[in-house]
Amino acid sequence: MRKLIATICLVFLCSGSAFSSGFSIYEASVRANGVLGAFSAYADDASTIFYNPAGLGGLEGINITGGATIIAPRSSFRNLSPLAPTGQETKMQKQEFSVPNFYGSYQITDNLTAGIGVYAPFGLGTKWPEDWVKRGSAIETSIETIFVTPSVGYEFSDTGIGNIRIGAGLRIAAHGKVKLSRAVTSFSPEGTFALDGDLKEPAYGFNAGVQYQPTDKVTFGFTYRSEVTTEFEGDATFENLSVGFPSSAQGGAQITMPASYVVAVNVEPIKGLRTEIDYVWWGWSSYDELAIEFDQPIPALGGSTIVNERNYKDSWQLRFGAEYTELPVEGLTLRGGIAYDENPIRDRYVDPTLPDSDRWLFSGGLSYQVTDYLAVDASYIFIRAKQRKVTNTHEGGIDGVYTTYANLPGLGFTLNL
């Protein structure tokens, strides 16, 4: 198992970029992508380790599912600040991120199933031109995380009131990287500050969930995921900055990955059609500032810390998805979804490191059972973020209009043994 995790970590190194509100990534399974993550009550494969560990309780035999979602975000910014002509447009540089996932489960007894999941629940990747108007706030920013989650689920059947499943897992932030660079415009000539950090040590949290199935056609689900406080550490470089800066330094930052919970209900109104609605709450208010601490005082900063105020607020998402299996082609399952995602960033604190906005998500997906054991899964998500005009921004922000959309194709497989 140790070797397996190591191998997967290598694959995961290329992951990044957020595509839910804040810098969370809810695209943790290609099958779930098809229903836009409205999956916490249904959860019929091992990716339930992420969506609701209680779902493990119903999983039979050995289930393995894995895949990758490509995230291709596109943002542009039109300036309303005095730093550049009004309306001047800057396009964020095109980047594509691969966010893989892998889950496996094993049924130990009739009612008890254990599993492990490896996925990237938080990430972010933005890159603006080096000479763009707000280079002083952000040129390149990225956060990558990989979580490993060993979990167990148990099913209480024959309770008299329907099936009840419970489950829990240990969320281990096993790998992480942060990278940020920005211009230092306080001086002429301008310089560049960059920090390239790795997760200092594994960080821990947990998740727990319950599913209640009063009848075959209705399932209720609830999942809670705790905060995980991560610490990053690495090299800080100060390019073209010789007055007031050391030639090199070590820098570190603490980032709290927020808690979240999900309330879900899944209904099968007609045979073969399963519909689900999930309400997801995010405790983003834990992210109030990003403080970078250096190992030495830096004269140009007048201290050894840079603090960027974030002041996020808690946010929510409403996810609706449907899956249909009664199709003329045997072995084919179709999925679709729609979701609304409220962003956690207050207008005043929007900045180009993460040009977030409330957004609508639309998805389609399918699975095809190639053999009795193997299914191929595919999904496509399109995200349209509301055009966001921000004025009266704080010092690190810039007044203007952000426009963002994203395409997220995904491909995966599911094995049932």
Binding site: P82, L83, S188, G191, N240, V243, T275, Y340, R384, V401
Partner: protein
Amino acid sequence: MNYLITHSKKLLSLVLVLALITSCKDYQDLDVEPVDTGDANFSSYVAVGNSLTAGFQSNALYEDAQKYSFPNLLARQLQIENFDQPLIGNPGIGDPGRIELINLENNTTQFNTNQGQPINTGIGQPYNNLGVPGIKVDAYLNAPDDNPFYPLIVNEGSPQNPLPNIHAAVQQIQPTIVSFWLGNNDILTYVTSGGLRQFTNPSNFQTQYVSAITQIQNLESDPTVITANIPSVASIPFATTVGPQFQAQIQDNQQVPGLVVQKTFYQENQQIGASENREPAGLIEKGDLDNPSLALILLTARDYLPYIGVSANPQAPSYNEDAVTAILNYWRGYIVNAGVATEQEVANYSQSEIENTLTQMTIGQYQQTFGPTQAPPFDEEECCFDFNDRFGLSAQNPFPNQFVLGENEISITNTVTGIFNSVIASQGDVQFDVNSFFDQIIQDGQYNDPNSDVILQPTIGSLFSLDGIHPSNRAHAALTNELIKTLNSATNGDIDKINVAKIPEGIPVAN
């Protein structure tokens, strides 16, 4: 069951349609609210002025500072799409170069003598920012002969084709709004030379100023003309920084009663208070060094203050070879600048030859000004220059006049500035009172940006760039806000102000 399928399809379609409608507004058009300029048309703007208009900072004209010149910032707030400035690549053009910080802890600086190159030449029309560093009011209608910036800024497509005057450039653009901020150098050269160079004769100033404004007002485009006045000398750190520092340094030294400063002046300035100047040197008492109406020690004095008390007599306890060399070299330059001897000649002058030449120059100057019998330049006991006396502490070895404005010179400066400002106040459509704006900051001890929590101190590196004369990036933003306030009240407009915190400080550093 079919009923349910039909309805769930309808419901799903409805949700999809609603979502698409709300999310698919046209994202490519940006509806910028038009700027409210009230009764006036501010669609085409030209800025006429000197270094303050050009965005000159830290003794150079360079791109990183020009970007934040108040005319460029105002043009942005007016949403003018093409406001062209004659950009010069960093570290810019300056004599001898841009001042740059080399150490943040003790704020030491040095000149970067590398010179930048023009960036956007050949734009096919005159620039909108016609601020030319160093010019006086007369340059609006008569091109200056020896200004290195003029051909770079006032031309028709290339520095090889300078226009005959600034008005010719303004005429080509036919602006609807002109900011006219000239006059500072008409008095500032007097100030920065410690009273050695002349200020513009006030009646000439009036003639030149009025005819410039009249020409602008007669343009076919009938522009709104903003006239900006001259800040008082006591509001620039160039004149106010060093005196209090020096005072603090000598406070407890009983040996140093103050500073004995050479007095010389030009004949033309004689009528304003010349009688007090009938002695070759005078003592500025220690207690007066921080009083901007009694004494202003200029920033240029800084290098020589450590030599106070030094004697050129190798036997004297205060002998210091480096200091003596620096002091003798200063006076060599002084003799060359006065045209009394050439550089080659003075290079070989001995100490006593320098002393004799200076003595003769002083006697000659006094006799020429007051007549042979009116004012003996030295009394008999303390005859002549003598560098064996203590530097800056005796009339025989005085601190050079070039580095100090004495009480009399300060009063001349204030009087002349007042005369110039009354001329400026009578001209143009909108009067921008920069003088009061800076005086208020000096009085309050700071400037608080109402649009952010930025506070600027009237010191070098905060409100002022490293030369102590020219405003910093953020001061330009503050100045722009003040101008917007003036414009809004004059034209009943509502032009947005700038959040000063968003303007980078851009302090020049030596890398």
